[in-house]
């Protein structure tokens, strides 16, 4: 990302905290779930002690209750093996480091204070609290097992003993966070879609063992984050009546196994929809910054000449950035703008600032990196253009978050993906959809492509055991 990415992100955060930072690839699913839980049910010292136990050589076990019965720990090799086992089991994605990190939290007291999620976890918790108050109870119930029914949870319970998180992770307060009081109808729709999806993952256990439930929550939370990052910049700036999230930006998503054939018209359309989504994000960020600048209050004592900087500093203060740090940020932003567009706050100025802070290519790289982590965007960098697809484990998570018990008819599921997340996998029940998409030469081609994609998607769901096909062609999506 550009050198002023983080500075400009601070300006945008008080309105839209779902903007990627200078290292968009850093926040991983384990970090986001950890941040989500740390904000919602809290964190304590035990989480960081477990991190140290996992990763530090010569670790002192005396603080752990199990050490009283652990004479084996005096043997260095056995202790090293034990540590390696803990890392393998609780950090399969390698997100625990010697001094910090985010383990797979099978118990609420494993939660740590780790800023690697770039604040996304607490903001998702804030979104949930605003849209569906009371979800803390569901999360606490999931992360605080009363009955121990699997050995992984048993190990987690032994490690945390009876410790209880003492503190809640917080983020700078802003009354302007769009999810607190959605400023537009599309943003309200997006908020409800995301919150209800996460709520379903929290509430319904689908007969899965606890470790699998938490795994689905982690994957689903991160998928929801990527979708929110893609749609929210547009959603909060367009106040029109929409009935489906795809009306913001349709994300053409491959129904077959990703990443698909790069030369296939469907794959190319998916790639084009990814680029279009990125352009939408850029435009949305510009509009957000324009609105923020317009709304900024300048201290009355500020001399005219210092007005631009004062405005920026005032904006940065909203994000909790003050003093020298704010002054340096303001200087860097001002310096990044060329002479011709130095008129502070104009559209040209804003456009240049966003081009410098969140250039399209960098945004695309960042969001691709995020989407790839849960199998939503593929292929890996350097293997071809980015496109949307759904790897099978993600498909399983989405089915769990969207499909009610008893199942849902396949076309309704396709509609649901489009309405809730903007994912276009086929026409579903919308015969007009093909004509609205700009990715093919004619509506006829679009219809054919969408039908083909939908059929590939249907077959994949059946093959993965996520749908049942009846003899008369009726297909039901189910998580039974």
């Amino acid at each position: 990302m550009g050198s002023i990415t983080q500075d400009v992100r601070f300006l945008l955060l008080p309105t839209n905290p779902f903007v990627t930072g200078s290292n968009a690839g850093r926040p991983a699913p384990a970090h986001v779930l950890n941040g989500f839980a740390a904000a919602d049910v809290g964190y304590g010292d035990r989480g960081s002690e477990i991190v140290a136990l996992m990763r530090q050589e010569g670790v002192d076990l005396s603080g752990f209750g199990f050490s009283a019965n652990a004479r084996w720990a005096s043997d260095p090799k056995t202790l090293r093996n034990f540590q390696a086992d803990l890392v393998g089991v609780f950090s399969p994605d390698g997100r625990v480091f010697p001094t910090r990190g985010s383990p797979a939290i099978l118990h609420q007291s494993m939660t740590t204070l780790d800023a690697s999620d770039d604040g996304f976890g607490p903001h998702l918790a804030g979104l949930m609290e605003a849209a569906t108050p009371g979800t803390k109870d569901q999360l606490r119930a999931l992360l605080t097992p009363i009955e121990i029914t699997d050995p992984l949870t048993a190990m987690a319970k032994i490690l945390v003993e009876d410790t209880v998180p003492q503190q809640r992770r917080s983020v700078p307060e802003s009354k302007r966070y769009w999810y607190l009081s959605p400023p537009t109808k599309p943003s309200a729709l997006l908020r409800e879609s995301i919150a209800n999806f996460i709520l379903a993952l929290l509430e319904n256990h689908f007969g899965d063992p606890r470790p699998a439930q938490i795994q689905h929550l982690s994957r689903g939370l991160y998928f929801a984050l990527v979708v929110t990052c893609l749609h929210s910049p547009v959603a909060i700036n367009i106040d029109s009546e929409i009935h489906s999230v795809h009306e913001l930006t349709p994300l053409v998503t491959l129904g077959g196994l990703p990443p698909g054939d790069k030369d296939h018209p469907l794959t190319r359309a998916s790639g084009a929809s990814f680029r279009r989504a990125i352009q939408g994000v850029v435009s949305g960020l510009e509009l957000t910054l324009v609105a923020a600048v317009e709304a900024a209050e300048i201290p009355s004592t500020t001399p005219k000449a210092g007005e631009p900087s004062a405005k920026l500093i005032s904006l940065l203060a909203d994000a909790g950035i003050t003093g020298t740090r704010a002054q340096n940020s303001a200087s860097r932003i001002t310096d990044a703008v060329t002479t011709s567009s130095r008129r502070f706050g104009t559209k040209k100025w804003v456009s240049e600032v966003i081009s410098a802070s969140h250039p399209e290519d960098d945004l695309a790289t960042g969001l691709r990196s995020m989407g790839r982590k849960v199998g939503f965007i593929s292929p890996d960098r350097g293997m071809g253009f980015a496109r949307f697809g759904l790897e099978t484990p993600l498909l399983g998570t989405i089915v769990r978050g969207l499909v009610p018990s008893g199942g849902v008819e396949f076309e309704s599921f396709v509609d649901s993906l489009r309405r809730r997340f903007g994912l276009v996998l086929g026409p579903g029940g919308d015969d007009q959809l093909a004509g609205d998409l700009p990715y093919w030469q004619s509506a006829g081609t679009a219809r054919e492509m969408l039908r083909t994609n939908q059929e590939s998607f249907r077959r994949r769901l059946i093959r993965s055991g996520l749908a049942r096909e009846y003899s008369d062609g009726y297909t039901e999506v189910t998580h039974d």
Binding site: F66, P92, P151, P209, S218, E391
Partner: protein, 463 residues
């Protein structure tokens, strides 16, 4: 009113017909889809003198009826149908309907092709068909069709199709009909060699099943070491050919100057007519059917062994008597899969069974008709894992540690669902098994801990 009657003398009435009010009858619904949605739920009603109701229904409308009438026989029928599809068998209950799952019936296993080929009407049709031949006595289609009167030849045809069906999707009845139609009518007697004989159509015909067979079985690789020289030199009655009793080969080409096509034609014929048991072995060698054989013969130990080996990348000595419910907590899609597996628990092989889907459920005579799906079933929980042909082939090939091999991602997802279902049922928490796999050397380490959350105990278990 209809005049049709059953063997028991009962009248057959369509559900929308009115019959004689004093005559016993059987009510039939030929197609539930054709019945108005508002009246479908009335189809199973039995008025006076109605001894039985027979409903032919697609699964979709039946599911809808079951949902809207959860206490009805429709719901019971759907539950039975789904139990059968999972391979569950239940004792007969006279309060429940008998269900026949036509779509789930396995025509290959039931030897339907052989039975179709034995139909006299088919033979009559072939013998009366027109072609370019001067007379039936010199017609290769008609002369070779007579070979199908032999039961051993038809059994060989069934065996070949069973082998073809061991990969890919289940064979549909429609595909079999297409194959039989192509065998009887496809090709031309005027070709050189003639493309009309049935054995040639099986390997080189136009049906979907033929293409599928040929995609994985190359007939030219079917070699007959002792018989081939005899064929080449036209020794049609040589004992080395080991032809089934009463059968003879139809020659083609000129002895000593045969083209490769003509020789393949002869070999294809010999393949079906010889009684040499090594031909069956030859077929199985081409298909690597070891695990499939284990499944077919209900050898659970071998399937457990294969699953354990698959999940640990073949890096540990797998058990055949204990199934480890290996999983990992990974969420991210990285280049390689997680190198550590942890077990949700273990179950003994005796708690598992291999089964087939059932095409007939709740039959008063306890009738059993094997379906086309194979399952590994955890008996206590009823959780099952479908051993599709593709799954069996992947398990045999070994797990790939690269996430780009998505077929393995899908398979581990399906296995994971099965293990989750079993793990949720067994609810054991006192033993944590951990497997480390080194992808570079493909070696592994297996460690075990006794754990007790109530007494804060973690105890490594020595080998």
């Amino acid at each position: 009113m209809t005049s049709r009657v059953t063997a028991e003398g009962l009248e057959i009435q369509r559900w929308d017909e009115e019959g004689d009010p004093d005559t016993d009858f059987v009510r039939i619904v030929p197609d539930l889809t054709q019945v108005s949605r508002t009246k479908r739920h009335l189809c199973l009603e039995r008025p006076a003198h109605c001894k039985s109701v027979v409903v032919a229904a697609n699964e979709g409308p039946l599911v809808q009826l079951a949902k809207s009438h959860p206490d009805s026989e429709f719901n019971a029928a759907i539950e039975l149908l789904h139990a059968g599809q999972r391979g569950e068998r239940r004792d007969f209950d006279s309060d429940l309907p008998t269900v026949i799952d036509v779509g789930g019936f396995d025509p290959i296993e039931a030897g339907v092709t052989g039975r179709l080929l034995a139909l006299p009407i088919l033979s009559e049709m072939v013998n009366s068909s027109e072609c370019s031949c001067d007379a039936p006595a010199v017609c290769p289609r008609k002369r070779t069709w007579a070979q199908l009167a032999s039961e051993s030849v038809r059994e060989r045809v069934d065996e070949v199709l069973r082998t073809a069906a061991s990969r890919g999707h289940a064979v549909l009845l429609r595909e079999l009909w297409d194959l039989v139609a192509d065998m009887a009518t496809g090709g031309s007697c005027a070709d050189s060699p003639p493309s009309s004989p049935w054995f040639y159509r099986i390997f080189y015909g136009d049906s979907r099943l033929t293409r599928r067979l040929r995609s994985s079985l190359d007939p030219d690789l079917l070699v007959f070491p002792r018989a081939e020289a005899r064929l080449w030199y036209g020794d049609w009655f040589a004992p080395e050919l080991n032809l089934a009793t009463g059968l003879s080969l139809l020659p083609t080409g000129t002895v000593g100057t045969m083209t490769s096509d003509e020789f393949s034609w002869l070999r294809a014929q010999l393949f079906f007519l010889t009684e040499d048991s090594s031909v069956g072995e030859l077929l199985r060698d081409q298909y690597d059917l070891l695990l499939l054989d284990a499944v077919e013969q209900g050898r659970t130990v071998e399937v457990v062994h294969a699953l354990n080996s698959y999940m640990t990348y073949g890096s540990l000595r797998p058990s055949g008597t204990t199934l480890y419910l290996w999983t990992d907590l990974g969420v991210e899609r990285r280049t390689d899969r997680p190198r550590v597996q942890a077990s949700l628990g273990t179950v003994r092989d005796s708690t598992l069974r291999l089964g087939y889907s059932q095409a007939v459920l709740n039959h008063p005579d306890d009738m059993e008709a094997r379906g086309s799906r194979r399952y590994l079933i955890h008996v206590d929980s009823g959780t099952s894992f479908e051993l599709t042909a593709e799954a069996i082939a992947l398990i045999r090939s070994g797990r790939s540690y690269r996430t780009a091999d998505r077929a393995h991602t899908d398979l581990e997802w399906s296995i994971g669902q099965f293990y989750s279902g079993v793990g949720s049922h067994i609810r054991t928490s006192d033993r944590l098994e951990v497997a480390h796999i080194d992808f570079e050397s493909m070696s592994g380490e297996h460690r075990v801990y006794n754990v007790s959350a109530s007494s804060l105990l973690i105890e490594p278990v020595e080998d």
